[in-house]
């Protein structure tokens, strides 16, 4: 049986992690169908049909799907699941919220946040904030799997021409009502997919001081991250948090500034290709994962860093 991929989108276009989830789905079985549930999401459905790994698109439209409420999405997917061996989506807040609700209805034990497909029933996933890796075999007839997007490359986005089939909407779940979403708009790259991330921790001492980080991020075309301590202290909003309960990032370059390196933070960034740590405490655990450590006062180091960047003739973007 084929694999059913749940597409994440904003009713206009696919959200980027759908592409990573599509890659993971195609590693489970080459026959990948994708379901897209939304309101006026035709354009996103078309994008989905153009992914070469997707063989068929199932489109479900309804006003009550506009805000992606798990309680509304679940009945449609549970019904479709009859025809599939696996249900797959990203392990971001969209998939984390949705998939267990589906799995419980299907009476299947979900495998969360996989980082590798070993075989169609066996997966590798981090546990204990990435301090151990577990190889898990699922013995359920239907498997619900969420994938860690940064562990799979995004699939190709052009060249496919999957047929788009309409599927009937399910009834509305009226006990949950969407009120509002406060999205932080930014011209910078998304934290989850950025090539470079510059992150600040408690050492920044104030929200104002984050402008030292912003400057450098702008210069490098980087996203801005933060430790939980910095978010808790109110220096920066929650959508910047990197770590076990925040976002997991795997950029080419991760620059940790004034971050001590709690286990929970390391869980979100230690797979980055190159890690830089700037911290005045030479014993800080962040240095144990850093390729380049600079023991220095960040309030002196960051302006110097900016100066040095300004001296460079070219900067990769």
């Amino acid at each position: 049986m084929a694999v059913l991929l749940i597409a994440e989108h904003n009713n206009k276009e696919l959200r980027p992690f759908t592409l990573n989830a599509a890659t993971a789905a195609s590693q489970i079985d080459s026959d990948v169908h994708a379901v897209i549930i939304g309101q006026n999401s035709e354009e996103a459905a078309k994008q989905l049909s153009e992914l070469p790994v997707v063989k068929k698109v199932l489109s479900v439209e309804g006003a009550h799907y506009e805000n992606f409420t798990a309680e509304n999405f679940t009945p449609v997917i549970v019904k479709l699941a009859e025809n599939y061996s696996h249900i797959v989506c990203s392990a971001n807040t969209f998939g984390k919220n949705l998939m267990p609700r589906i799995a419980a209805h299907l009476d299947t034990s979900q495998v969360s946040d996989i980082i590798k497909v070993i075989s169609p029933d066996t997966f590798l996933r981090p546990i204990y904030a990435g301090n151990a890796f577990a190889t898990i075999k699922s013995n359920d007839a239907k498997k619900c799997v969420t994938i860690r997007p940064t562990s799979f490359d995004p699939c190709e986005t052009t060249g496919g021409s999957a047929p788009i089939e309409k599927v009937d909407a399910s009834e509305e779940f009226s006990n949950t009502q969407f009120i509002k979403r406060e999205e932080i708009k930014s011209d910078r790259p998304e934290l989850g997919t950025a090539r470079i991330v510059v992150s600040g921790g408690r050492g920044m001492q104030s929200g104002d001081n984050f402008k030292l980080i912003t400057e450098i991020a702008d210069k490098l075309g980087a996203a801005i991250g933060a430790s939980r301590a910095a978010v808790d202290a109110g220096y920066i909003s929650n959508d910047h948090q990197v770590g076990q309960t925040g976002k997991v990032v795997v950029p080419d370059l991760y620059i940790a500034v004034g971050i001590s390196g709690a286990i929970q933070h390391l869980a979100g960034m230690k797979e980055s290709k190159v890690i830089v740590a700037i911290n005045k405490d030479g014993e800080a655990p962040i240095f144990s994962v850093a390729d380049y450590g600079l023991e220095a006062d960040l309030f002196e180091a960051l302006p110097q860093f900016m100066e040095e960047l300004n001296k460079l003739n070219t900067i990769q973007k």
Binding site: T69, E71, N92, T93, F94, K96, N97, L98, M99, P100, R101, A103, A104, S109, Q110, V111, S112, D113, T122, I127, Y128, A129, N131, A132, F133, A134, T135, I136, K137, S138, N139, F173, N175, T176, I179, K180, R181, E182, E183, I184, G192, I196, S237, N238, D239, T245, L253, I263, Q264, K270, F287, D291, Y292, G293, L294, A296, Q304, F305, L312, Q316
Partner: protein
Amino acid sequence: MKILVAVKRVIDYNVQIRVKEDGTGVVTDNVKMSTNPPDDNAIEEAVKIKEAGKATEVVAVTVGEEKAQETVRKALAVGADRGIHVKVDGILEPLAVSKILQKIVDKEKPDLVFMGKQAIDDDCNQTGQMLSALLNWPQATFASKIDVKENKLEVTREIDEGLETIEINVPAIVTCDLRLNEPRYASLPNIMKAKKKPIEEIAASDLGVDVSPRLEQLKVEEPPKRKAGIKVANVAELVQKLKNEAKVI
């Protein structure tokens, strides 16, 4: 309004995890155990709602081995009124836990069920959503703010894009994020008082729930180690290394 709060006993978040040499799991012998951190936020929120006069009773429940009862006792010490310990040994998957909690909900008939959004041992992030599916109740996951209104809650959720606010009718499930509140510490008098609060013990086998695992944990291993890095002397050297050695800027 009555609030049921589910708590889990896990390895303390400050403990450095060690993988067993035989690959069967992680070392738990003689390791400090604590309440799963966001479960502390769940208890705190329930107690605060009661203190604000909007709830009449807070019941803490845990599912697990003999020693899991410590987490219920701790919940009682910070303000829960009574406890339930569903006793069961061995590995429990979130699906099994949610089926057990469903039975407890049938029995206790709470208006709200709170729990942490994720346990920091298996990092599954499933139980709350599964319980709400089994009960067909609304779910508010990753809550960072809860306003109790008449027969409904307004909940702010932490999502990847920022914040989302939803309104859910009770009965409902809320899974709590770490920023929901600042959990209090138990005072010594309250720890003493908690010893007198009742904890009902229930054998999972009496609930008629199949808790047998569906997943096989074939192996647990250490993640690949990063190679040791270097310390640079100054910013100029750092930028030069990034440009010419790592070639990332």
